[in-house]
């Protein structure tokens, strides 16, 4: 009996209260961690998926070519591991964490514009097996990153 009113209540809130919507969307990205240089990592056990943030893709402009690190490459945190070429410039890719590459997103190599259209989902860049989990401590949560972006804008 108690379930039905709760569902109704949630529907009511989703339909009529916009703050509720924002809250839900924040929750979707809650597990992504960000760097000040606009890279993100999403964890699944010891496997981290790496990509660039919406802010970064917008700053780059249309990505025309993506060169991603090959599988089995050992990557160190903050070290160059690939490049994205946009209409504006060739931009180096840096990994927010160290580890060994286990997969690269071949769809992005084929269709680099996925980085612009879906930077948090289909436009991920590569996956790696984390070498040092303590590196995660330096990273920001989605909420902190959003605040960080605001302080950047005011400059």
């Amino acid at each position: 009996m108690a379930v039905v009113p709760r569902v109704l209540c949630r529907r009511f809130l989703q339909n009529f209260s916009s703050p509720r919507f924002i809250h839900t969307s924040l929750k979707v990205y809650a597990e992504r961690l960000f760097t000040e240089k606009h890279e993100w990592v999403k964890l699944d056990g010891k496997i981290g998926t790496i990509g660039i943030s919406d802010y970064a893709q917008e700053a780059l402009g249309d990505v025309v070519y993506a060169q991603l690190p090959d599988v089995n490459t050992e990557i160190k945190q903050k070290e160059e591991c690939g490049a994205l070429e946009s209409v504006k410039a060739a931009s180096e890719i840096y990994s927010p964490v160290s580890g060994k590459v286990i997969e690269k997103n071949e769809a992005v190599e084929e269709t680099p514009s996925l980085i612009n259209t879906s930077c948090y989902d289909k436009g991920w860049l590569f996956k790696l097996e984390l070498a040092n989990e303590s590196e995660l401590k330096e990273l920001m949560t989605e909420t902190k990153y959003t605040e960080f972006l605001k302080t950047q804008e005011s400059h």
Binding site: K78, E80, E85, A89, E110
Partner: protein, 397 residues
């Protein structure tokens, strides 16, 4: 080394002074503390200059010190980071340009293919990533040309420098790192148009890839065509002074008073002694793995008319053989041949051997010559025709 230390010491002393002052400072104060230097490379070797560009990008702290590097090269072709040399360069006629050929280089930055000789001036503006600004850099060049030669140059929609509002005199290339960034302007002053056209004008080659192609050569012009007294050396001085007198953040003119306060001009000799590690970077730029091996995957196709001597059915009928090659990391990864019925019915034996021998080989004419040598007498007349077709795909590219 001493040169670098000198720079580092200066920057450190500036930083210490900065910290001593109040923390809340406006851009204007940052601008006043900003120093600028013009480095003129004494090398005309494209690989060394690209290595110097990368060395500065990787090692300098540019936060309080912006740099303009000026350089020129012996005849060479420079392709963008992710371009395909086989679709940009006219390999078959290169030998006619210069004894020993023209150097071919791939840079780390974006952009299109350019032909360089001593009539071309390269300007690389180094700044922190947040201060990267194509337009501001172009304005420095525009102002210097106007101040020195009274010639007005426009900045086009895509930040190219234009003469008469439509003919392009420059190309842009840029690279963004984690902290630093650079923007390179390749400025045509008195560049040989004939050599450039021979080097870059391609016949119809059927290459399919996702890489960017360069703009038509007919849209390009030399600065000297508008201002006959302009030379690369006069421009070096003009642009250098203009850069020094321009404020780093606002881009406003600070006059000669500001220019004289800056670090001035430095002739730099890009050797291991001054820039430790530069030789290794040069070796990378000069390697086959970087220049050709970094080419994005592509396929190339060509049709060949089968000589009538090989077709004994329906004498006079024409048949064509189609060769398609896939090249990955500069090496042949796949070959498919469409064999016309007329030829197939005669029984073709060499196909498998030809294919296996070529896979994994560098996409060069040499690969085909080696193959012919190794197969030698095994090849009959028809097989020879097949290998000749494969070789032509390569040499025509």
């Amino acid at each position: 080394m001493a040169f670098m230390q000198h720079f580092c010491n200066r920057i450190t002393s500036k930083l210490t002074r900065l910290n001593a002052r109040s923390l809340s400072r406006a851009n204007i104060t940052v601008e006043n503390d900003l120093k600028k230097s013009v480095l003129i490379s004494q090398s005309t070797d494209i690989y060394t200059n690209l290595a110097l560009e990368e060395w500065i990008f990787k090692n300098f702290n540019l936060e309080k010190h912006h740099i303009l590097m000026l350089w020129k090269n012996d005849p060479c072709i420079v392709i963008g980071r992710n371009q395909n040399p086989w679709s940009e360069i006219n390999f078959s006629d290169l030998q006619s340009l210069k004894e020993g050929g023209v150097n071919i280089a791939r840079r780390s930055s974006s952009g299109e293919t350019v032909y360089h000789d001593h009539g071309n001036l390269n300007l690389t503006f180094f700044t922190p990533k947040e201060k990267y600004d194509l337009k501001k850099n172009n304005q420095v060049v525009v102002k210097s040309i106007f101040r020195e030669f009274g010639c007005s140059v426009d900045i086009g929609m895509d930040n190219h420098l234009l003469l008469g509002k439509k003919k392009q005199v420059s190309n842009n290339a840029a690279k963004l790192g984690r902290e630093n960034a650079y923007h390179n302007i390749s400025l045509r002053v008195q560049c040989s148009k004939i050599n450039r056209n021979v080097a870059l004008q391609k016949r119809d080659v059927h290459i399919q890839s996702s890489t960017k192609h360069s703009v038509p050569l007919s849209e390009m012009m030399n600065l000297c065509e508008e201002t006959p007294d302009v030379t690369v050396s006069t421009l070096v001085k003009a642009v250098g002074w203009e850069f020094l007198r321009t404020k780093g953040i606002s881009g406003k003119d600070g006059g000669m008073e500001l220019a004289n306060k800056q670090q001035g001009f430095h002739m730099v000799n890009p050797t291991e002694y001054w820039f430790p590690g530069i030789q290794e970077i040069r070796d990378k730029y000069n390697s086959w793995e970087w220049r050709y091996g970094k080419t994005p995957k592509f396929t190339i196709a060509q049709n060949f008319a089968v000589p009538t001597g090989l077709l004994h059915t329906n004498a006079g009928a024409s048949a064509s053989l189609k060769v398609t090659m896939t090249v990955e990391n500069g090496r042949i990864s796949d070959i498919t041949i469409f064999v016309p019925q007329e030829l197939n019915s005669l029984g073709f034996t060499g196909e498998a051997k030809v294919f296996h021998g070529l896979k994994g080989k560098k996409f060069t004419a040499q690969a085909f010559e080696d193959l012919e040598d190794s197969l030698g007498s095994l090849l009959n007349e028809k097989d020879r025709f097949f290998t000749e077709c494969l070789k032509q795909v390569m040499t025509n590219a």
